[in-house]
Symmetry: C2
Subunit: 240 residues, 2 copies
Amino acid sequence: MDIASSEVSDAGTLVACRSCQARHGVVCGALSSSQLRELGRHSLRRKVDAGSEIIAQGAESSFYSNIMRGVVKLCKVMPDGRQQIVGLQFAPDFVGRPFVRESTLSAEAATDSEICVFPRNLLDRMISGTPELQRSLHDQALKELDAAREWMLTLGRRTAEEKVASLLHLIATHAEPQTATSTAFDLPLTRAEIADFLGLTIETVSRQMTRLRKSGVIRIENFRHIIVPDMDELERMISA
Amino acid sequence: MDIASSEVSDAGTLVACRSCQARHGVVCGALSSSQLRELGRHSLRRKVDAGSEIIAQGAESSFYSNIMRGVVKLCKVMPDGRQQIVGLQFAPDFVGRPFVRESTLSAEAATDSEICVFPRNLLDRMISGTPELQRSLHDQALKELDAAREWMLTLGRRTAEEKVASLLHLIATHAEPQTATSTAFDLPLTRAEIADFLGLTIETVSRQMTRLRKSGVIRIENFRHIIVPDMDELERMISA
DNA sequence: CGGAAACTTTGATCTGGATCAAATCGCAAT
DNA sequence: ATTGCGATTTGATCCAGATCAAAGTTTCCG
């Protein structure tokens, strides 16, 4: 293992990683079996507790990760403490900014997660020699760009109620549906995190959630578990 | 010329394009001279008037462009007419979404512009065979992603005054400075467009501009020409 | 040159979401 | 069970920015 353990061991449990060899993750799908074996030799499966940082804003990082399980939030913080979540990532997304060592944002596990960590040097070398991998990472960047721009519309032009509905819709999209129309899931974010994603306050988020509940669009159990009886109804609230 | 003129001639003047052969633009820098010659044979220099569309939201497009001169705004519109500008692009940026025919946003010239238009098929083929080009487009996508996320922070967490200052700062960044500290430029956007970029109304934009003027951070001539005597002062307003 | 249309500023008022302030809930530790 | 604490909800009030309404400016075209 050539990953300095000081970099990755302070917030989770390290176990040997065989997952990449099993072709999980955005990166692994684009590699040959010999590359996979090499990457596997140098990667670590890491459990990350909810709330712990994977990459710090402004810090240099010498590794990348694939998300194997859980939800990761990408966050920007201003000097005065104001905070904006600029993206959510789900398995099997790739975490890390190719080609640039310093990160302009932090990546933090929103739920208990598992990631597969591998060294930047090795992957950068593989990218150069593997057009398919370059393409795969390019695709992920374009996907994230689309998501970011869609969210800019939400932040700039939607009302608080539409914002909360948009968030529920986004998360519901990553849960497997119960039936043709209904979906249920656990929120991976606290009210404070939802507020930081939507550019609102926790009070407004809470009020809009109870509004949605009272109007029958969602049911809420234990603050965290959301049931959407009819996804179409949720979509109609977003006018998109 | 194998670009259907119906696609590109309705809003500008077409002239034969030699600019790509001269290695302008994000795309052209990554091509060999024989590829440049081929691309040049199939590209058109097009003049685009301010306000005319380059790509329509939801439409399929069979061409890409390089911006040679001018400013292009990327815009998302909701069914009810609410609108959000999700990015500004300057020469020599690339316009178009690689690999995906249908655009989720519209690209429109904000100022009178010149773009170099070339066929999607040809460039897609060149991307596959030219890792350097793939890398160059990947870099542009990552740059746009950083810009989008930076703007999400602005939309979600900054005040109206900070938003307007952020916009002026963004545009000033793309103008060449007058002296070490001072910069001057013509705004490429109307107040309505600024409002759609910042998630505000035109009245609020106008009021904040006069506030900045009265506090001496900027001078305004003819509504459109902005003079920033001290860029540091502008940056301090953004707290970033 | 005139005059209309589009853009911008300015003023008055309103309101959606922020802020301030308690309750209430749920859960972990004792 | 009890306590204590963080997360959430709910209520009361406030205010930044929206909305409504004129009144300038500028541009452009006949």
